[in-house]
Symmetry: C2
Subunit: 194 residues, 2 copies
DNA sequence: GTCTATACCCGGATAGAC
DNA sequence: GTCTATCCGGGTATAGAC
């Protein structure tokens, strides 16, 4: 088995284990056992446990930054932004749960990013809420993002083939947009017969 | 300082640290330092680190089970269910982030509960989605729950006094309900003039 | 490229004095 | 109730043979 091939296997195994047990909760020995070798063999392919995580995070993090730059470029439609995050969560479904579950992972990511992940999220919320957003609008924007994350992973779990069908994607997106939009009529004004 | 008083201080400190660094990411030494004593002193008040967490979790877990039994009793309105979870997240705001972030914590909770937390969540989703729910309805129900968690914590962070105002609570609830409701008209059927 | 063996550190927990 | 000192286990990482 070529070195590069083994490297891929390690990443695949690590991805599963991290998703199930978290990054901190997964030991090098866990990965080695699943791989069928010893921990020492692992260190031939990766210099450290953190580097395994970094290898896993490289692509999704690049996608993420692409979204952020396109977001900084101009006023993107909420639909575009939310759709991009649905796709990001779909591509790297296992990692999505890993990332914000483990503070150690958060810290690692913050090292590799220009701005902290909290700041980045705040930017996305601001972009979704629009320029003159009151607190209610910010709440709704946070809600829309929560929907994207929660509903996407729910849809992926419910899907028989583990893939996000176009219908499901549309449902998630529509739900997020409904969350984002203010209530059309919170309470029908009294004195106005239907 | 009385023992009972110190115990409360420990719980308070632990709550903060767990929220910031996660349960696994927080060491007994961290807590002791913040407390101004040594780790050995901590063990006079709590037999183990896990027991500190258990002390923190006791109340919110009881609330949670209260919700579940009332849910099992009869068909509660979605509004009631979602409202109950908003309140639960508000009362134990710091813990909410701790609980499902750390697999170790999840495991501990599952030990103390009759059913696994995954099963419980599935029950709530089912109750929200209704008896004859298709996959889209289940997705929306998951989304509504995600809104409750995400938007409540966002609202708490945005609030100047760190408290959830009635207005904000209403906004969160309305948003969750919009997420839950199917799209009124996803696409106006063609051939039917407005 | 993978092994055995082991160094090293850190975190949870205990013993026993005060 | 709190201290000093220490044990013990487990986890990352390395050395060096094969």
């Amino acid at each position: 088995m070529s070195a590069i091939e083994t490297k891929q296997r390690i990443l695949r195994i690590a991805s599963e284990l991290f998703a199930r047990q978290g990054f901190t909760g997964t030991t090098i020995a866990d990965i080695a056992r699943e791989l069928g070798t010893t921990t020492a063999a692992l260190y031939y392919h990766f210099p450290s446990k953190a580097d395994i995580l970094a290898g896993l995070l490289a692509e999704p993090l690049a996608s993420y930054q692409r979204i952020m730059t396109s977001l900084a470029a101009g006023a993107a439609a909420p639909e575009e932004i939310l759709g991009a995050f649905v796709d990001l969560n779909t591509e790297s479904r296992e990692l999505g749960t890993v990332i914000d579950r483990d503070p150690a992972v958060l810290a690692m990511i913050d090292e590799r990013l220009p701005r902290s992940s909290r700041e980045l999220m705040a930017e996305v919320v601001a972009a979704l809420a629009g320029p003159d957003a009151d607190r209610a609008a910010l709440i709704r924007a946070s809600a829309a993002l929560a929907v994207v994350k929660g509903a996407t992973s729910a849809a992926l779990e419910l899907a028989p083939d583990g893939k996000l069908s176009p219908d499901d994607r549309a449902e998630v997106l529509a739900t997020a947009l409904r969350a984002l939009a203010p209530d059309p009529m919170p309470k029908p004004p009294p004195g106005r017969a239907s």
